[in-house]
């Protein structure tokens, strides 16, 4: 909301600069974000005389004017300006923006050339200066002005616009008087309210019009006045200046008066052409479903029961509290006016506004809650101003339909409660002084022990409880005056449930391990493109946003593959092609969290996703090594080791995200049959869709499932004092032999003396027959309680060889 600084100061006379006023109000919770110097907006703008003006041949409407802006040169030195307005003529005094001037919309005037003619400025219209909506022609200034005079002196706007960012709980501050009230409370000055004096004719408003309200819940109060003999025309300068300084453009004197009073008292008013009420009555009632109504902005809107209509009994003339109708608006021919000042119920206005798809200055005030008892003052004030600026004659009296008056509230404030909340004692007289400064009445002044009984005027609908009063005390007192204390150090019992504890520990272990083995963490947004999700996991249910900002953010991700592949795409596009990425984050799908409800999150599960592609950084010692499926298997081993997880088994499974044949479930759990994740090489079709031209391996693991696989500690294991013996074996195997299975077999057959069996070489090629692979393994033997005899080791090794020959048709190449 914007309000003129001068206006506020007229009501609350203080000697604060605009900046100081803005600052003090902001620190009292009436946030004034910006101060605009209105004379500055006329910088580099002056009065000019059009010396000559000719049409430009090659253009159908542009003209070339020579304009003098310097009195001394007497028309000899001129600016060359190209102008499109039809009403420019030689001899006129006009408003000229010189090169360097900045228009209110931010446009900067620059030197330009059109049709070979230089343009060194701009001749201005009222709209360009945001003085009014008039844009048909330029402003022609009165003859008595001096050429070269700054425009600021002509428009006389020696004022500042204060721009407020008001919070929704403060409807009282949405007007000059409300702002002035805070200024008075902060400064201690006395407010000067406008004096309202009215000369009414003998004819009565009530002879002309009656008000019927069909829905008094939506419209608790409706007041009307009739003003006859109005001459619609431009507003006087003082009125225009106030409006412009308060961010409103001037339309005509009648509409300007209603806007002025709204900005002054916070009461939205509406002016109808009285001729539309030949029925003699205003009927306020709800619309019916699917009806049409054309608002003042010439848009046809569909209305329904949520919209309250102001009617003459048959025709809809305004959408109450939101916007007038085109059919009843003030025109140049209007002579008699019906003024409306009403109070509409805030939440009903919100629904109505939503139906209409329309937010106006008026609805913004009603939906926050205006003062239901300012009605008569505001309508009288408007009648007075209409008489002053439009020559209108107010009829006697107001037709006021207000069946159930809304009364001020009594709210108790205990000074000791205030002390308890703030942590500092504010003495009773000081509290009373602050509240009175805000025009909150003290019903029991001077009482000693009982609570302060505060009579809350109806312009403060936000104050209904003791805490609301404490807030008022705090903001006027200032947060700065409350000393900092250290109650935050008080101890509390911070127990976690066991499930939360286990999960938190697991997540932290996984996170540290992945960082330690060189993986970079990414963070996906959670919102995802449903079409891509469908490509990754066809047919899997998605959670869909009902009001998305775009398709790209239309669903919730149901896999981490989505975020990882997106991150891979971004990096590969920027030539970062070697990637080790992970994310620990939530996926979302209907009902997936119900079973493991650690966080009461029914539709979320936490997952770990890991992606690799490209190569490890090449090095002269180790050469090049791919980041691939086997890197992920290594990650699983590291994670299992660090988090003490039970074994995870790979079982072939069909996931469309993976290349068939390179796609596996990860199974584990007590019976080793629970699917706890998936691993594989991403399908080439999907890679193409993500613009990735290199192979990518990916796995996802479910955190809740993993947390159930944590094995209890085994306790301390004694360290063997005896040496180990290593035996290597070089084998020739069929391609079909699964080496991992074979190693497990070796460890099993070798028994407890086999500490470990590892593969240290694998190759295919010239020396290896077609369909075979050469595999070298090393077996380490060790006993916990003696030195192993060579013969004993040889015996075991022989047993293993026999096993390999029988079970895997292995040929032993070399012992």
């Amino acid at each position: 909301m914007k309000i003129s600084y001068n206006w506020v100061r007229d009501i609350a006379p203080v000697d604060w600069s605009p900046e100081e006023m803005a600052h003090r109000l902001t620190l009292a919770g009436t946030a004034c974000e910006t101060v605009i110097d209105l004379s500055a907006r006329f910088a580099k703008m002056v009065v000019g005389r059009v010396e000559s003006c000719v049409a430009i041949e090659k253009s159908d409407h542009l003209r070339h004017a020579s304009v003098s802006i310097d009195k001394e040169s007497a028309g000899k030195e001129t600016l060359s300006i190209i102008c499109g307005a039809p009403n420019v003529a030689a001899g006129q005094l006009v408003a000229v923006a010189q090169v360097g001037a900045v228009m209110p919309d931010g446009m900067k005037i620059e030197r330009r050339k059109m049709f070979g003619i230089a343009s060194e400025g701009m001749i201005l219209s009222e709209r360009e200066l945001e003085l009014s909506d008039e844009h048909e022609g330029i402003i022609v200034l009165p003859e008595n002005l001096e050429v070269g005079a700054p425009l600021a002196t002509v428009f006389g706007v020696d004022d500042y616009t204060l721009e407020f960012e008001l919070t929704p709980n403060r409807p009282d501050s949405m007007c000059a008087i409300g702002i002035a009230r805070d200024v008075a409370a902060l400064s201690g000055c006395t407010m000067n309210r406008p004096e309202i004096s009215l000369t009414e004719s003998s004819e009565k408003s009530s002879d002309i019009i009656q008000v019927e309200i069909e829905d008094t819940e939506f419209c608790p109060r409706y007041a009307a006045r009739v003003i006859r003999g109005v001459k619609v025309g431009p507003s006087p300068a003082w009125l225009r200046d106030r409006l412009v300084a308060s961010g409103q453009s001037s339309i005509n004197n009648v509409v300007d008066v209603t806007n002025y009073v709204m900005l002054e008292f916070g009461q939205p008013l509406h002016a109808f052409d009285l001729s539309r009420f030949d029925s003699g009555k205003v009927v306020v009632k709800r619309a019916k479903a699917k009806e049409k109504f054309v608002t003042l902005d010439e848009i046809e809107r569909e209305v329904d029961e949520s919209v309250l209509m102001i009617t003459n009994g048959s025709d809809y003339l305004a959408a109450g509290g939101v916007m007038g109708g085109l059919n009843s608006s003030i025109t140049d021919d209007t002579t008699d006016v019906l003024l409306e000042a009403a109070y509409f119920d805030p939440s009903s206005i919100r629904k109505s506004k939503r139906t209409l798809g329309l937010s106006t200055d008026s609805s913004a005030r009603f939906e926050r809650g205006i003062d239901p008892n300012i009605t008569i003052i505001a309508i009288d004030r408007a009648a007075q101003l209409l008489a002053e600026v439009a020559g209108g004659e107010p009829l006697a009296g107001v037709v006021d339909n207000y069946p159930k008056p809304i009364e001020p509230l009594l709210v108790d404030l205990r000074p000791e409660r205030c002390h308890q909340i703030l942590g500092v004692e504010v003495k009773r007289p000081e509290i009373e002084k602050i509240l009175s400064g805000l025009e909150l009445g003290i019903a029991n002044p001077g009482a000693k022990t009982e609570a302060i009984s505060v009579k809350v005027p109806t312009f403060r609908p936000d104050i209904t409880r003791e805490i609301d009063l404490i807030e008022e005390v705090t903001r006027i007192l200032g947060f700065d005056n409350i000393p900092t204390t250290k109650g935050y150090l008080a101890a509390t019992d911070n127990r976690k449930t066991e499930a939360v504890e286990i999960q938190d520990d697991l997540v932290s272990t996984l996170w540290q391990t992945l960082l330690g083995v060189g993986f970079n963490e990414i963070c996906g947004s959670g919102l995802a493109d449903g079409r891509l999700l469908e490509l990754i996991d066809p047919g899997e249910p998605q959670i869909v946003v009902a009001n998305p900002i775009s398709d790209e953010f239309g669903s919730m991700r149901n896999s981490l593959a989505y975020s990882l592949l997106n991150a891979a795409r971004v990096n590969v596009t920027h030539q970062t092609v070697d990637l080790q990425l992970f994310e620990l984050g939530n996926i979302y799908a209907p009902g997936i969290g119900k079973k493991d409800n650690v966080l009461n999150a029914d539709h979320e599960r936490m997952r770990l996703g890991v992606l690799v592609t490209g190569q490890l950084q090449p090095h002269w010692k180790t050469g090049r090594d791919n980041l691939d499926f086997y890197t992920l298997k290594g990650v699983i081993d590291s994670l299992r080791g660090e988090a003490r997880l039970a074994e995870l088994k790979l079982v072939p499974a069909k996931y469309p995200v993976f290349q068939s044949g390179q796609s596996f479930e990860l199974r584990g759990g007590v019976k080793k049959d629970k699917v706890v994740g998936r691993i594989g090489n991403v399908s080439s079709k999907l890679l193409k869709r993500f613009d990735i031209k290199q192979s990518v391996s990916l796995m996802e693991l479910d955190i809740a499932e993993l947390s159930r696989m944590i094995q209890p500690g085994r306790g301390y294991q004694a360290l063997s004092k005896f040496p180990a013996s290593d035996r290597d074996l070089s084998l020739l195997l069929d391609e079909s032999v699964l080496v991992g299975e074979m190693l497990k077999g070796v460890e099993r057959v070798g028994g407890e003396l086999v500490e470990k069996a590892v593969v240290f070489d694998l190759f295919r090629g010239k020396q290896v027959p077609e369909g075979k692979k050469s595999v070298a393994i090393s077996v380490r033997y060790r006993s916990a309680n003696k030195s192993l005899e060579s013969s004993e080791v040889d015996g075991l090794q022989q047993k293993i060889i026999v096993y390999l020959k029988q079970e895997f048709k292995a040929e032993i190449r070399e012992k």
Binding site: G29, A31, P168, R350, I421, L422, G423, I467, I470, T474, F479, I482, P483, T484, T485, K486, G487, Y488, L489, A490, T492, N494, K496, L515, G516, G518, E521, I522, C523, S525, G526, L527, I543, V545, A546, P548, M556, S563, V570, N571, H574, T576, Q580, L581, N586, Y588, P590, G591, G593, N600, A601, D602, H603, E604, Q617, H619, P723, S790, D794, K815
Partner: protein, 341 residues
């Protein structure tokens, strides 16, 4: 003792002697003792020709392996005495790439914030991102159909694919407040970091997803002074010791009195610069005393208990601290960005 066992024990013995050799000369002596023409290994091998044919081959292989191993050990030991003399030693060759991964800046920022509050005895807790109206709004004193709801543009979820009706994406981590209150007996002291969602057009300054750290404390005598104290302590620990705070009264439905908090500019210390838009202050968080209606909604007695709550935007804090100018960078996951922190 079989020949193979002899070789094995010879290796162990030679290894131990090399280990304890104190000079290049001693190493040479060990080498001669075991590998020399009249050394122990050739000595053992002399007997091989007497073995049955099928046993000769493995013994030969083992002996060979032992020689290679010992040679290597000798060489390594000699290098350990005098590496500079070795002409093929190039100390400028790059070291092994033992790369360590980086945490995402947002995760690290949340962890850093959590760490400071943990030191002050706050428990770190989480809550769901998909929420009901009650936990995101209702129990936090947002009346239905109130303009306060416009302050937080909300993503609503479609009742589809088995998802029940009436769910939304949480707009703040304040839902954790309600959930923790419901499951705990005061006094409580908790911080809740996490992801939140707002229906906002994406630009360099705003994103439809961001992270928040919510903190709150409830007890029998928790005051606004304590709130000021905890925030000042946090900002001074996290940013810099000379930080000052400014409280601007504001409005949040779930706290009263409420305030927005500005911190003196990190760069210019309040003098005014381009970071603080020549204001000297940076908006950093929102806070207030927990509204009695929130207490009542979870069955706490607001006459007996009082408490405060605050919330800060993690992206904003990271952007201020590292002078990042585009919020979208956090979610693009470009490693050139992520690995800077």
């Amino acid at each position: 003792m079989s020949v193979l066992s002899q070789i094995e024990s010879l290796l162990a013995k030679a290894g131990a002697e090399l280990q304890s050799a104190a000079s290049a000369d001693e190493v040479e002596q060990v080498k001669v003792r075991y590998l020399g023409r009249k050394g122990e290994l050739p000595g053992i091998l002399k007997g091989v020709k007497d073995l049955p044919v099928e046993e000769r081959k493995p013994v030969g292989a083992a002996a060979n392996k032992a020689r290679v191993m010992l040679d290597g050990q000798v060489k390594a030991k000699l290098e350990s005495f005098d590496s500079s003399s070795d002409a093929d030693f190039d100390y400028t060759l790059p070291g092994s790439p033992l790369t360590v991964g980086r945490p995402h800046l947002l995760v690290r920022t949340m962890a850093d914030i959590a760490e400071i509050f943990s030191r002050k005895g706050f428990l770190v807790a989480n809550g769901p991102e998909i929420e009901s109206d009650r936990y995101n709004f209702g129990a936090l004193n947002f009346p239905p159909d109130h303009p306060a709801r416009d302050m937080q543009d909300t993503f609503y979820l479609r009742e589809a694919n088995g998802l029940p009706e009436g769910l939304l994406l949480r707009t703040h981590t304040s839902n954790v407040q309600v959930r923790q209150f419901e499951s705990r007996t005061p006094p409580v002291k908790i911080i809740a970091p996490g992801k939140v969602f707002r229906h906002e057009a994406v630009s360099s300054r705003a994103y439809c997803v961001f992270h928040q750290v919510e903190g709150f404390q409830v007890g029998t005598d928790i005051t606004l002074g304590d709130l000021k104290g905890v925030l000042l302590a946090f900002c001074q620990e996290y940013f810099a010791e000379n930080i000052e705070l400014r409280f601007r009264p504001s409005f949040f439905p779930f706290t009263e009195p409420s305030a927005e908090v500005d911190m003196s500019c990190l760069l210019c210390a309040g003098k005014g610069c381009s970071i603080c838009k020549y204001d000297g202050w940076l908006e950093i968080l929102g806070c207030g005393m927990i509204d009695p209606n929130v207490m009542s909604a979870v069955g706490y007695d607001p006459e007996v208990l009082s408490g405060y709550a605050f919330g800060m935007g993690v992206e904003r804090i990271a952007m201020l601290k590292h002078r990042i100018t585009d919020i979208r960078l956090f979610y693009e996951n470009d490693l050139r960005f992520l690995r800077q922190f």
